[in-house]
Symmetry: C2
Subunit: 414 residues, 2 copies
């Protein structure tokens, strides 16, 4: 079964706003074996919408419209889909009465324009919207002799998700052949995309029944594995077997085999090993700490640290001798190590993590170019320092540096 998702709304054709609902819908449709083959974005213009609806009905089995169900003049998804299908709209007095009650509860009187939200395409099943006024509609229709399922869904993400989850997904699944789909996500760091692919391609090519998608993100590579089989156990077995072979090949470059983020993984390891961490950040300016503390419960293993942007704070908060900074420069192996050791001592944490580097775009020299970052991790026995040169702009350099720093903690605790 093939689906087309249509996002309706003139704001989605401006430089400021983007459809995001379709990512959620795609995931849930894939879960029941439905492939999304086209996505279309169209404004609140009836003529355009009729045209888009006709094209979609001619090329997909399931057509999902999102948005354009509100009360304003602009909202014309109902009218356009009815026109494309050659069906009539009928106003349902029960829906209108429900909207009136919704207004009355708040002490308001329903304005006349709201009544159009009670217009139902002939033969459609009305899908009540618990989170908003405009109900959805489910139409089992025919187009050019073919059976089609057409869904009209509200645009606001929380309304759409609640409505689709509670009233569409199971109904859709029951109309399709049973599907057993298992997915897993591996995350890899420290390898380039082409290098990673060269090592894993010979493996996943032996699993033609597992769909493997490799995506490069900043500082990590994501491998999405998906298998469809006659039973859940069979699909799970194939995905797990492929995961296991990839993990054998890539070793500890794989930092997650269930989609967890680097900061979550570092948290798991710190908690498992009963260790605490403190940071001293220069070029990343708080990014490493912000990532660590984005995880709920991080106070169990993260004590805090210092943002040592100025040289004087490197001394005041992390105890780095001013002479050391003068001798080697703030961006140096020596100062990175002193920062890590200093913050570990001041905070009484088990591990002290430090970064100093040049995020750019200014401040680079021939000897110490933009992108040069020293990462240091101090433990009770020794301090490890890693020097890296990252490509990209300020934002990317800072992100790469934070990823490398967190990965040092992970590798130390493996």
């Amino acid at each position: 079964m093939k689906a087309e998702i249509i996002a309706v709304g003139s704001e989605l054709l401006t430089p400021f706003r983007q459809d995001t609902n379709s990512l959620y819908l795609t995931e849930r449709l894939n879960d029941i074996g439905v492939e999304v083959t086209f996505k279309t974005i169209v404004g609140d213009t009836r003529e355009h919408l009729v045209q888009v609806a006709s094209v979609a009905l001619s090329r997909a089995d399931i057509v999902l419209f999102m948005g354009g169900l509100g009360p304003t003049e602009d909202d014309c998804t109902r009218e356009a889909v009815a026109e494309a299908l050659g069906l009539e709209l009928r106003r349902d007095p029960n829906i209108v009465a429900g909207i009136e009650r919704r207004f009355a509860v708040r002490g308001w009187k329903m304005t006349a324009n709201n009544a159009k939200q009670g217009d139902v395409i002939a033969g459609a099943t009305v899908l009540p919207n618990a989170k908003g006024t405009a109900p959805g509609q489910w139409i089992a229709g025919r187009y050019e002799g073919q059976e089609k399922i057409i869904l009209l869904l509200p645009g606001p993400p929380h309304e759409l998700k609640a409505l689709f989850e509670e009233q569409c997904w199971e109904r859709l699944r029951s109309k399709l052949p049973p599907q057993f789909i298992v997915r897993r996500e591996l995350k890899v760091t420290g390898l380039g995309e082409s290098h990673c692919d060269a090592r894993v391609a010979p493996i996943y090519q032996r699993f033609p029944d597992v769909q493997t998608t490799i995506l490069a993100a900043a500082g990590e590579i994501q491998l999405h594995l998906q298998c469809r089989a006659d039973s859940r156990a069979a699909a799970q077995q194939r995905v797990d077997a492929l995961v296991s072979e990839i993990e054998d090949e890539l070793g500890d470059s794989v930092f997650s085999d269930n989609g967890d983020s680097m900061e979550q993984i570092v948290g798991y390891y710190l908690e498992m090993r009963n260790k605490t961490l403190a940071v001293a950040e220069s070029c990343t300016g708080g990014l490493v700490a912000e990532r660590i503390t984005s995880v709920s419960g991080s106070s169990r293993y993260f004590v805090g640290g210092a943002i040592v942007y100025s040289n004087s704070l490197k001394t005041a908060l992390a105890g780095v001798p001013a002479q050391l900074i003068e001798k080697y420069g703030a961006v140096s192996r020596e100062v990175a190590a002193a920062l890590a050791e200093g913050i570990r001592q001041r905070s009484e944490a088990n591990l002290g993590l430090a970064l100093t580097g040049i995020a750019g775009p200014t401040g680079g020299t021939a000897e110490k170019p933009v992108g040069l970052v020293f990462h240091a991790l101090a433990g009770d026995r020794s301090t490890e320092v890693v020097e890296r040169r990252f490509p990209g702009d300020r934002r990317l350099i800072r992100w790469f540096a934070s990823q490398q720093a967190l990965d040092m903690v992970r590798r130390t605790l493996l």
Copy 2:
């Protein structure tokens, strides 16, 4: 003139990836008076691509394809567009030689599949790609008797932007009637969306020639104003007049009238007033510092600070007496003030900014619920403390708190 943007790539039909190039292209097309009326996302399937190309050619004057120009078997945008237009593909030996040289520079031999990147649609102008191997193509074609402009652009954002900016925008502009479009963006904080709209709607309704779009983002409201007129001066005058009236109405709730971020604005004010800032963050865990230091040049006014996640670091790094924490609790007006004053003193900055609160989802009590945050700003004469209760999840609460904290600095320096 109407444009359709087509994003090509099977990964864009998964739950993991989304087209973002179209936002940039839409902005640049709007700049020259071209409206984007449809966006389509299609996989690397030749049959689907030909179908999408034909539909787009029948309904738009300018059709922009992004992606599918690479060397792999999957990449078939060139072939599909040629088929839809009924034109031939011809291999250009100069392009192939160029790709061979690109490989040779790195000491590699070009593999055979790369040669297809030299295939050019008959009559197309080749657009060299300075940042990648696959060149773009510009086709002035006809479809169903109508003149069309068709652009084939590479998918990677940095390649697409460089190529479109340098080789397409001016060429496109020269073919269109002159347009004078002026845009400005106001940013507002501290007001709800409906409250803001209620106050500004009576104003912008008196400027029907200025298109006003109000968008709510976390912790701020963006007002996008755009005017098209017979001359740049006339358009500028109308937009500026509207900006001025909105600023009169909203006062210092408007923090930016040129689209700058809160962290940029805070940076401008600190530099203008010749002041330095230090932070002590508990619940935000480094987010405020990360935002401040995301701005290049922030070392001129930001010295750093402390992430005082544990109580003992509140004492060790910001000098907050342990008894104060014991008496009032870490999340309290008193501890916030002491953190701000303590970090100001330790860092010798002019201003000390501090946050302590409960980001959740756990850790809340009836008296101190999730979302409660105390913000403090210490200067040379006094310390201001603001108590807020933010809605939303951990991520949103931290973001709202960082925005409120930065806004305190801004308002103090106004």
